[in-house]
Amino acid sequence: MSEHFILPRGDGPSLLAVDDLRVAFGEKQPVKGISFEINEGETLAIVGESGSGKSLTALSIMGLLPAGGTIAHGSIQFEGREITTLAPREARALRGGSIGMIFQEPMTCLNPVMTIGAQIIEALRQHQSLSRKAARARALELLDLVRIPDPHRRIDDFPYQLSGGMRQRVMIAVAVACSPRLLIADEPTTALDVTIQAQVLDLIDRLRRELSMAVLLITHDLGVVSQWADRVVVMYAGRKVEQARPDAMFGNPLHPYTRGLLNASPRLGDSYNYIDGPLYEIPGSISSLAGDRGCAFAPRCAHVRAGCRDAVPALATLSHGRQVACPVLLSEENRVTAVDL
């Protein structure tokens, strides 16, 4: 597979530590206690289907939960500093300064009535004391860095004059303008053509190395995970169900949900047809949350046991930082010995 298995990276010191984060909207808790760490320079992917709480986790880190949402419990530490209780001014210095974020829709995330140059310059001058001229020069460098051809001519273009892939590149340029330590990419390629997706992810990966930043990659695309992530967190219904290195997860998924996800993604060489060879589907939907007592995946799980509906399964930590929240599969024969490669 790809080279990062030979050259493991992301073993630097911890940059971001999320501990038992719970996000509440009134009575509802779409994020029910998630913990993970991102080390300096690594790419951590959070995978899950719509509604699993992955975007809310990202927005909590940014301090930008939608109206009505609050962090009900838990802590988020960035560079050793608690950031959930920051004063608004400090939080603003962090956003766009030390933590950058790119969003799913490049079409709508750029201000339609401002030139792309002005938007990059704005971002730069928000956090750094640069003269207009110096900021413009830096903006040109950034456009060049994200491989926009002919930046001198493009800098005064409006977003509508650019293609989707170019806009996403501009978004990335805006997000990394102030050389953040952490880049949060919320489904950065979902709205793009397949051919552009790989380019954009390559770009993010190259910037990660060149600017030595960590990347929190939120996606539902397992292909993206296998190629670009150092570690994967699988989320289901607001909780982490599995955490592993991608090779371990793809080689030996330990949670029934992860298995389902892997089975539900098409593989090269297999032929699929809606009549005789349909792609596997996980039965039910994420909205079929069976109360709050047991394992949230129990109603859809093929391996469900009597105990599953009584208590939320604890995360078991295995070697190499691997974690899984399913005692049933773990206790099955030979599983534990075959856990890690």
């Binding site: 210095a93 974020m101 995330c109 971002a123 004059q161």
Partner: protein
């Protein structure tokens, strides 16, 4: 059967069967030749937004005619001290000179012997000043209140919306008369009074715009860059919210001019300046014998308001994204 187009292209013309030749020539003509200039894939950088907008306005007949009339009125107002130096309220000739009978007073004189044209020219300045100041103030209050209410929502919105509604339920003209009756009537107080009765409409409009726009992704993206609320309101959202506000503003100028005229007609305007409304008011007693005293300033009001409405319609056509055709 003639060969397929692809094969025809590869064959020399003389070897193509007769029936196939016509088709082959057509397809060869479509083939890009070497001499054809290479069209660059990247479109040329478009002209600036302001210049494009100006050219669009220049091609809109409504905008051109409205703008021309307005320009004429504005020039009249601006040059009034040069055209008619001295007090337009001064008695300069005998009364009741009909328009077109005396070359020295082309539009005649009123019941006291004041020059009509001087009044209309000076009145243009007063009308436009009141219209512009009142609209500016009304926009300032209305957009600020609407932007804050729409952007922050929640309790801020509830409180500001109720305040706006209180002002909106007050009968406009009664409110105007009361304000002017309390304060000394002057261009400044008239403008303030008109702004007080017109801002709620602007506030509601901009509140609606801001409520929609604050949910846009680019606002979230701006917040993710650490921008403060004021900056997001002023430099991120406001430019997108402006088009409907600009359209409203042109109509607001027109209604401010009408309100000022109505107040002056009733004798509640500034007694020291001549205005179109006060001229009509002065002439109303002689409507049967000297109707021109009402008709001339009335025509001036009508023309100005019409010009502003034409301009408003044109701006609406140009700036409203829902009615936009291909540029």
């Amino acid at each position: 059967m003639p060969p397929s187009n692809v094969r025809a292209l590869r064959l020399a013309p003389e070897r193509v069967p007769a029936e196939g030749r016509a088709a082959e020539i057509v397809s060869l003509a479509d083939w890009p030749s070497v001499e054809q200039p290479v069209v660059p894939l990247v479109p040329k950088s478009a002209p600036s937004r302001a210049r494009r907008l100006l050219s669009v306005i220049g091609h809109n007949p409504l905008a051109v005619s409205g703008g021309a009339i307005l320009l004429f009125v504005a020039l009249m107002g601006l040059t009034s001290p040069l055209l008619y130096p001295g007090d337009p309220l001064a008695i300069v000739a005998e009364p009741f000179i009909w328009p077109g009978t005396d070359a020295a007073h082309p539009l005649g004189t009123d019941s006291l012997g004041r020059d009509m044209l001087a009044g209309i020219v000076h009145g243009a300045a007063v009308s436009l000043q009141v219209g512009v100041f009142a609209t500016f103030l009304g926009l300032l209050i209305g957009v600020s209140v609407g932007a804050v209410a729409g952007y922050f929502g929640g309790w801020t919105d509830v409180v500001l919306s109720r305040v706006t509604e209180v002002f909106q339920t007050l009968p406009n003209f009664v409110m105007l008369v009361v304000v002017v009756a309390i304060a000394q009537p002057s261009i400044a107080t008239l403008s303030v009074a008109i702004a007080i009765v017109t801002w709620p409409g602007v506030a509601r409009l901009s509140r609606a715009e801001f409520r929609t726009l604050r949910e846009k992704d680019f606002v979230l993206a701006a917040r993710s860059l650490g921008f403060g609320h004021v900056r997001i309101i002023v430099s991120e959202i406001l430019p997108s919210a402006l088009p409907p506000i600009i359209v409203t503003a042109s109509v607001m100028v027109a209604s401010a001019i009408l309100m000022e005229s109505a107040l002056s007609f009733m004798g509640l305007g500034d007694p020291n300046v001549v205005s179109w409304g006060s001229m009509i008011g002065a002439g109303r007693e002689y409507l049967r014998t000297a109707w021109y005293m009402c008709a001339l300033p009335g025509f001036a009001i009508m023309l100005t308001v019409l010009a502003l409405n034409l301009l408003g319609d044109a701006l609406n056509e140009i700036l409203n994204p829902r009615r936009q055709v291909r540029r």
